[in-house]
């Protein structure tokens, strides 16, 4: 089965207040060192996969440059990365090749470079079409810039564009959100991601919200109920516009779902490179048919460049079954119980009979023709659903690999 490749670029022009990723603002002198590091990792991919006990696969049908903001890299640096990818893997001609870009960074030279690198899909971190909302969290672009960037990409031949929006930004109201949704529909992009603002200790805004303060416009952040309303509003508006929900946070016109991201939810193999990059490969040595290994690099740039080892987790049969449910249920297509039975055996479904009955009764999931799906309410309470699919044990953890 062909691989998906993920390359993490943890650099940004500014760090947004809601950002809970290991990305940040670093000096340009680091960029070169980092690209060199990625070139080495890509060249050593097979060795790394083997060392981690995974079955290596040179065929690649999706590439995703995420971040951070990969578009802050210089054109020659991007070119070197793609050269390293193509030099070490067999990339299918039709491979979906996505680069995440910040609106306002798409200079003509960058667009040309993207085309030259074979990039055919761009994901834009728009967050909101209301300038006050996007600037309140530290975005540097405006609605006008976003619209111009979309036009520029189209003119260059990249029409596979995804727009990220956030529900729950400071100052957001149902009215302003309706405006953002109307704008995104009007751009006719084929793919939209709608993320509800995550409030946790890993972002500045999250910490401020937890502390109940007023920095970063935290006191203008919609409450949980309103955010849930905004999400439902988005689901409704986008579905009506033909941009159908296919995952909790993702919407696409027919045939334009993200091939790369689908791999995560359907447990297809992938390899990640760079800071905080995760990989999953079938286990090379195990006699268990569903065993896999998952491994990840450290989330600290200095440690990564200093050669910090990857951490490995074995995914055994039970963990694979659990993931099949809690990842697969994220998709609107749901989880086919017949398929699960076929792949893992009867007990993989029978063990959840009581859980499923319970969740159906609570109207969090529905079971139709042996396919289990979240209800719209279940989508908003999906963590309450997913935790029920965790068995009473933790996955076995090995020591650090190399």
């Amino acid at each position: 089965m062909p691989l998906g490749l993920y390359i993490s670029v943890p650099f940004c022009r500014t760090k947004c207040s809601f950002c809970n990723f290991s990305a940040g603002v670093f000096s340009r002198s680091l960029f070169d060192r980092y690209v060199e590091h990625l070139e080495r990792e890509l060249a050593g991919a097979e060795r790394i996969a083997n060392a981690m006990g995974g079955r290596f696969e040179p065929e690649v049908d999706s590439i995703y440059l995420g971040g951070g903001t990969p578009s802050v890299l210089a054109p020659d640096q991007l070119a070197r990365l793609f050269a390293a990818v193509r030099g070490n893997f067999h990339v299918h001609a039709s491979a979906e090749t996505t680069v995440e870009c910040a609106p306002g960074t798409l200079q003509p030279e960058l667009v040309e470079t993207l085309l030259a690198c074979g990039v055919n899909r761009v994901s834009l971190g728009v967050q909101s079409f209301i300038d006050r909302e996007s600037s309140s969290v530290g975005r540097l672009h405006t609605r006008a810039i976003t619209l111009a960037d979309i036009e520029r990409l189209r003119a260059a031949g990249i029409s596979d564009i995804s727009v990220d929006l956030i529900a729950g930004l400071p100052y957001q109201t149902k009215g302003s959100w309706a405006d953002s949704l109307r704008e995104v529909v009007a751009t006719e992009v084929p793919h939209v991601s709608v993320y509800m603002l995550e409030v946790d200790e890993d972002s500045r805004l999250g910490r401020e919200l937890i502390a109940g303060g007023t920095r970063y416009h935290a006191h203008h952040v919609p409450d949980e109920d309103l955010t849930a309303d905004l999400y439902e509003q988005a689901t409704e508006e986008l579905n009506m516009a033909g941009i159908s929900q296919y995952e909790i946070s993702n919407f696409a016109r027919t045939g334009r779902q993200s091939r790369h991201n689908l791999k995560y939810w359907t447990r297809q193999p992938y390899l990640g490179f760079g800071v905080d990059a995760h990989s999953m490969l079938p286990s090379a040595g195990s006699t268990e048919p569903h065993a896999a290994v998952r491994f990840a690099t450290v989330d600290n740039l200095d440690e990564l460049l200093a050669g910090a080892p990857r951490e490995r987790t074995n995914v055994d049969r039970t963990a694979a079954i659990e993931e099949t449910f809690f990842l697969g249920l994220r998709l609107n297509r749901g989880v086919s119980l017949a398929e699960v039975r076929g792949r893992f055996g009867d007990d993989a479904v029978s063990r959840y009979e009581a859980v499923i009955a319970d969740l159906v009764e609570a109207k969090l999931v529905e079971l139709q023709d042996k396919v289990l799906r979240l209800t719209p309410r279940g989508r908003l309470l999906s963590n309450n659903v997913f935790e029920r699919f965790l068995c009473d044990r933790s996955p076995v953890r090995d020591g650090p690999g190399t």
Partner: protein, 603 residues
């Protein structure tokens, strides 16, 4: 020793008025401890950490000093250190019954406090010779004359012969020793009649069994003697005896008038009840000493461990503490909200706090205490009378004919400016005024009857806050009132949370119900469905709030990099739910119960 050369005395003082410093100074002057030994051994008498920290005495002690007076004779001075808190007033009375005199220590900068007053009256009632000692005269704000006035006006003692001293600097301490010899009468026991010895404290020693502190009133007690406890008739053999000087010194005999400790073959501290009389088993006395009472707990609460796995540790710790303190009782109880715990009875609030603190410190337990309550006399419609000290055992309202609740008489001493606030507080607490008296220019003594139930809930803290700490309180149990008491339950989605039920006066039920319900609403996490939180008396709902249904609990972003992390998050969430307590269909974190229990203490 000839009784003529023995003096037995206690020291009565309010917290921080200098009792311990004076004791130390007396020990030093009589050579029982050298000044060098005193250094770094400050406050020799209060040995327990808690006693030192709080500046209070919990267990009684006695120290024997030898003093050669100005008349050339050497006297045996026995200082009997008594507990100084209202919860232990019975113990105090037994200690005082072992003395012929007392030093009344009053801080020259503070004046007489309620505690001093109560213990002084106790001492006067026992016929003790009281020597007023005005302490801290070295401080600039000392006012000796005013202090004397207060001693005369509040206690009614002649203060003309009071001693003015500074225990800290040593000024006047020699005169205290002379006054003890000259003014306190010697004991009047007869060593040649059958033994009568008064028990005023006992403790458990893991090597030697139960140790007993006693005052021999008549007769003799000696090693190897077969003795008998008059309250229960149990006989034991005296194995060893001693006195504290203040280090323990073994002796062979105690005779009439003397004070000391002994170990017999006793294994159970509950056998040696304070106030009981020890006599000779073969030649018993005809009568025990008067004044013996069986101690009954007055304050009740449930004790639980935060970590339910520590339940057996709590039981072991309670058993060990009980070895040393037979005045509190415990029995297992269980609560849906809090798991397995114990219903405990205490002499009073301080006693409860002390037990709780000792459990937490000495046994390293993290405890939850339910709202303290008292014991009610409930008359049922069929005429039966039952005692109820646990809300879970409260009868159905339709079966109750009437309820009687324990009443205390409280004495509050305070400065004039706080009287308004205090009056308001005692009225809120259903108090009835018995007396209102100016004891000096701006000091007021209030006497009130109050339900004990109102005192145990939060009275101390409120009194402290309305008086900014300038009010002292003493109380004693003084009777019963018939009151319309009801059981207030807190219901979550229709199910009662047992740990939060309280017995309360009907007129206060709604207000407290509202407070508890609104606090619960803040603390209960939103569930998948709407949850009603209600306060109810029987079937009648008196307050209600609603926790809205949970709208969203979702991981918005879940891509390759997040799967392990999200799994951990889900596992954590699942673990958290396991630790929650389930009331009906509602998961409630234990912290919510803790917070509510704390609120009910504060509000």
């Amino acid at each position: 020793m000839d009784c003529a050369f023995i003096r037995n005395f206690a020291i009565i003082a309010h917290i921080d008025h200098g009792k311990t410093t004076l004791s130390d100074r007396l020990l030093e002057l009589t050579g029982a401890l050298s000044a060098r030994e005193m250094l770094g051994h400050e406050q020799v008498l209060d040995a327990m950490d808690l006693e030192k920290e709080r500046g209070i005495t919990i267990k009684a002690h006695s120290v024997r000093m030898l003093y050669t007076a100005e008349d050339g004779n050497t006297y045996q001075l026995n200082l009997i250190d008594t507990p100084g808190h209202v919860d232990f007033s019975y113990e105090v009375s037994r200690s005082l019954a072992s003395c012929e005199g007392a030093l009344l220590v009053v801080d020259a900068t503070q004046g007489v406090e309620a505690q001093t007053l109560a213990n002084s009256y106790l001492a006067i009632n026992h016929g003790l010779e009281i020597i007023p000692v005005i302490n801290k005269i070295d401080l600039p704000s000392a006012d000796i004359e005013r202090t004397k006035e207060m001693i005369e006006s509040t206690i009614g003692l002649d203060a003309s012969r009071s001693l003015a001293i500074s225990a800290k600097t040593g000024i006047g301490v020699h005169e205290v020793l002379e006054a003890i010899v000259q003014r306190i009468p010697h004991p009047k026991g007869n060593p040649d009649i059958p033994l009568q010895a008064l028990i005023f404290d006992s403790w458990f020693d893991s090597y030697r069994g139960v140790g007993v502190l006693a005052r021999v009133v008549n007769g003799r007690m000696y090693q190897g003697q077969k003795i008998r406890l008059m309250s229960n008739g149990k006989a034991f053999e005296v194995e060893s005896m001693g006195v504290q000087m203040p280090k323990p010194v073994e002796i062979r005999e105690l005779s009439a008038g003397e004070v000391g400790f002994f170990f017999a073959t006793m294994k159970n501290v509950a056998d040696t009840k304070i106030g009981d009389t020890v006599t000779d088993d073969t030649h018993p006395a005809l009568e025990p000493m008067p004044g013996f009472e069986e101690l009954k707990p007055m304050v009740f609460a449930g004790l639980y461990t935060v970590d339910s796995h520590e339940h057996t540790l709590l039981r072991d710790a309670l058993e060990k503490l009980r070895l040393n303190d037979s005045s509190f009782f415990f029995e297992p109880e269980s609560s849906v909200a809090l798991g397995f715990g114990f219903r405990c009875g205490f002499l009073g609030l301080l006693h409860m706090e002390i037990i709780q603190e000792r459990l937490e410190r000495e046994y390293n337990l993290d405890l939850i205490v339910t709202a303290p309550g008292v014991r009610y006399m409930v008359t049922l419609t069929d005429g039966a009378i039952i005692e109820v000290d646990n809300p879970s055992k409260w009868p159905d309202p339709t079966l109750i004919e009437k309820v009687n609740e324990p009443i205390i008489t409280a004495t509050i001493l305070t400065a004039e400016e706080y009287v308004g606030g205090i009056l308001k507080l005692v009225e809120e607490k259903r108090g009835r005024q018995k007396n209102f008296e100016y004891v000096s220019a701006n000091r007021v003594m209030l006497t009130y009857e109050l339900p004990l139930n109102e005192i145990v809930l939060d009275f101390y803290d409120k009194l402290k806050s309305v008086s900014r700490g300038y009010a002292s309180l003493d109380y004693h149990l003084s009777g019963w009132w018939e009151s319309p008491m009801v059981k207030l339950d807190i219901l979550v989605a229709g199910d009662a949370v047992d740990a939060l039920s309280i017995i309360i006066h009907k007129d206060h039920a709604q207000e407290r119900g509202r407070a508890l319900v609104s606090k619960m609403r803040e603390l209960i996490p939103r569930q998948q469905f709407e949850v009603a939180i209600q306060a109810a008396i029987g079937a009648k709902i008196v307050a209600r709030e609603t926790v809205g249904a949970l709208r969203k609990n979702v991981i918005a972003k879940c891509y390759g990099g997040d799967i392990s992390r999200k799994r951990k998050l889900l596992e954590k969430q699942k673990e958290g739910k396991k630790r929650m307590k389930r009331i009906g269909k509602v998961d409630i974190p234990q912290e919510a119960f803790l917070a509510v229990l704390r609120v009910s203490e504060e509000s």
